[in-house]
């Protein structure tokens, strides 16, 4: 990644880690903690949507898989915390692989249907298999996150852990998009036949990206379960899947900063809109519509484009060129 991205990442990390000094309200911290988890899910999903050109409507299921498996392994089976989370990630990865292999080999958007079905199945299992999952009333008594002898009790402690992890995910994903693999993903999202003829295993890459995004969602789910210590099926329904897809779209496809932006914005927005009470759903919807109408490529690339145009006084015909070059830069 370029120096600009490194500096942006550093500034972002500085802002994030000084924020708790200003924020005294635990509730604010809790919302930001959830935003950090959403960033992990949304970055994984954006790798799939923006780079592999595939949509998953089942990421809530992977999120839920991580949460429930982690809860079952620790609270029911008594496994240690971090190995349990890693086991959950491995299982989520295997599940993603089994869904991805048959569906991603087919041309077209079969993954959407498969993941949608998968989400519904997982939801039904969570509700019906109450001997293990606790059924509709949920799963309580999940152990808190621990690192050695240190237990993460307060929202403030969790804040540092979650944001460190989600910034790490952002950092590694940025590295990835600037590597040989990143170029291959960008190529296959743009033109599969040309990518194939250039020697890129398009099917293989799609499956691998899907597995990675499933594993990231599972990690976020496990962290969520150990943070809230109580989970119930409602959190992992189809609505959350739609929500994370919306975060990717609003932030901007194939833009990792866009994912960060989209995840934070759409996590905070409903909280802010509590102020307008019963109109909050209406205004939430209007904001989404406005974003997609005025910034069809997503909020982040859109705003970056506007600033790029303002800052440089160039003849009109080269302006478009410049905006396009910026667009390329944004993906770097």
């Amino acid at each position: 990644m370029g120096n600009k991205n490194k500096i942006s990442l550093l500034i972002f990390a500085l802002i994030i880690f000084t924020l708790p000094a200003i924020l005294q309200n635990n509730y604010h911290l809790m919302v930001l903690n959830v935003a950090a988890l959403n960033i992990m899910v949304v970055i994984g999903l954006n790798l799939l949507m923006g780079y592999a050109g595939q949509i998953s409507l089942g990421h809530a299921a992977f999120f839920g898989l991580g949460a429930y498996l982690s809860a079952i392994f620790t609270a029911t089976c008594g496994f240690p915390l971090w190995p349990a989370m890693i086991m959950a990630m491995v299982i989520a990865g295997i599940v993603a692989y089994t869904i991805g292999i048959p569906t991603l080999k087919l041309e077209g958007h079969y993954l959407v249907m498969a993941t949608l079905g998968f989400n519904i199945i997982i939801y039904i299992v969570m509700v019906q298999f109450d001997a293990v999952t606790g059924g509709p009333s949920g799963f309580a008594g999940i152990p808190r996150l621990r690192l050695g002898d240190f237990t993460f009790q307060s929202d403030r402690q969790i804040y540092y852990l979650f944001w460190a992890l989600s910034i790490a995910v952002l950092f590694f994903s940025m590295n990835l998009t600037h590597s040989r693999v990143g170029r291959a993903m960008a190529a296959l999202s743009h033109n599969e036949i040309a990518a194939g003829c250039a020697g890129i295993d398009t099917d293989g890459y799609k499956v691998k990206i899907f597995v990675i995004s499933g594993v990231l969602a599972s990690l976020a789910g496990s962290l969520y379960a150990h943070y809230i210590t109580f989970i119930s099926p409602g959190t992992f329904g189809f609505f959350y899947s739609i929500q994370v897809v919306t975060m990717v779209l609003v932030g901007g496809m194939a833009s990792l900063w866009g994912s960060v932006f989209g995840a934070i914005l759409l996590t905070l927005l409903p909280e802010v809109l509590h102020a307008v009470q019963e109109y909050n759903v209406l205004i939430y919807g209007l904001i989404l519509m406005a974003v997609l109408v005025f910034f069809p490529r997503g909020l982040f690339p859109g705003i970056a484009g506007v600033f790029a145009k303002r800052r440089t006084a160039v003849p009109p015909d080269s302006r478009e060129q410049l905006a396009l070059e910026k667009r390329v830069w944004c993906r770097k």
């Binding site: 003829c197 890129i200 060129q321 070059e325 667009r327």
Partner: protein, 261 residues
């Protein structure tokens, strides 16, 4: 079997045997057999719809022939996928340049080096020293290719803002980035003016002088006659003649297919 031995002796780089490919009832390729010797420019000509592009698609694995087999250095490749064929050493350009417009010109060439490089997901995410060295190598080689094809000043542009001639050159440099043994060019000068056509013809000859084997599909007879070592004439998916360019110009069947009786 005796014939097999002579094939080995002649070192065929590519050979098709009785390749047939149908689209519904239409036989796009009809029992097509020919072979290509190394370090030559073999041109495939024929009227529109003769099956020239279909043939390139069959060789690169975009389509799979229904009957027959394609051999690359004696290995059957007709059931392989495009990326596997590219890894073996066949690369191509398209009739209409298929560039990645979401990347810079330089990155387009860097993508081309995919089959010759290794870094996977883990090293991509962690950037260990080995990956950095490889990345540096990729960049340097891509830059030297851009130099050869005269695209250095446009390295940071997006492909969409290049002229057609530059796009064609970029696509060839992307294909060359994988150091293919066999380069397939699908109408490289279509849409170019006379001066650009000549320049690209010179580039193709320079590639050949460096030992590149090339299959050229082209309608521009002036270019084809000027640079080809061997001509293969297709008509309705069948081969109606092959030989050296000057022989083919005299062949009555070939002239008839092109000009009508």
């Amino acid at each position: 079997m005796v014939q097999e031995v002579t094939f080995q002796g002649n070192q065929k780089i590519l050979e098709t045997r009785e390749v047939t490919l149908r689209f519904g009832g239409l036989e796009a390729l009809n029992g097509l057999s020919f072979s290509v010797t190394p370090h030559q420019i073999v041109s495939i000509i024929g009227p529109n719809g003769a099956g020239k592009t279909t043939l390139l698609n069959a060789i690169t694995g975009v389509y799979s022939p229904h009957c027959g087999e394609i051999f690359f250095h004696g290995t059957p490749i007709s059931r392989l996928k495009p990326f596997q064929i590219a890894a073996l050493g066949i690369n191509r350009t398209f009739q209409q340049a298929q560039l990645f417009s979401n990347m810079s010109v330089l990155q387009n060439v860097m993508v081309g080096m995919h089959p010759k490089t290794r870094a996977g997901f883990l090293s991509g995410a962690l950037h260990p020293p080995g990956e950095r060295r490889e990345e540096k190598k990729i960049r340097e080689r891509a830059e030297s290719l851009l130099e050869f094809f005269g695209l250095v000043p446009k390295a940071d542009w997006t492909p969409g803002h290049l002229s057609i001639a530059e796009q064609k050159r970029l696509e060839i440099s992307r294909a060359m980035a994988s150091e293919p043994e066999l380069l397939l060019l699908d109408e490289p000068v279509a849409g170019l003016n006379i001066r650009e056509t000549e320049a690209l013809g010179d580039l193709i000859i320079r590639l050949k002088e460096r030992g590149q084997t090339i299959i050229l599909v082209e309608h521009n007879m002036h270019l084809v006659m000027g640079i080809s070592d061997w001509l293969i004439v297709l008509h309705h998916g069948s081969k109606i003649g092959e030989g050296r360019p000057e022989e083919m110009q005299k062949d009555s069947q070939v002239v008839e297919a092109y000009l009508g009786r």
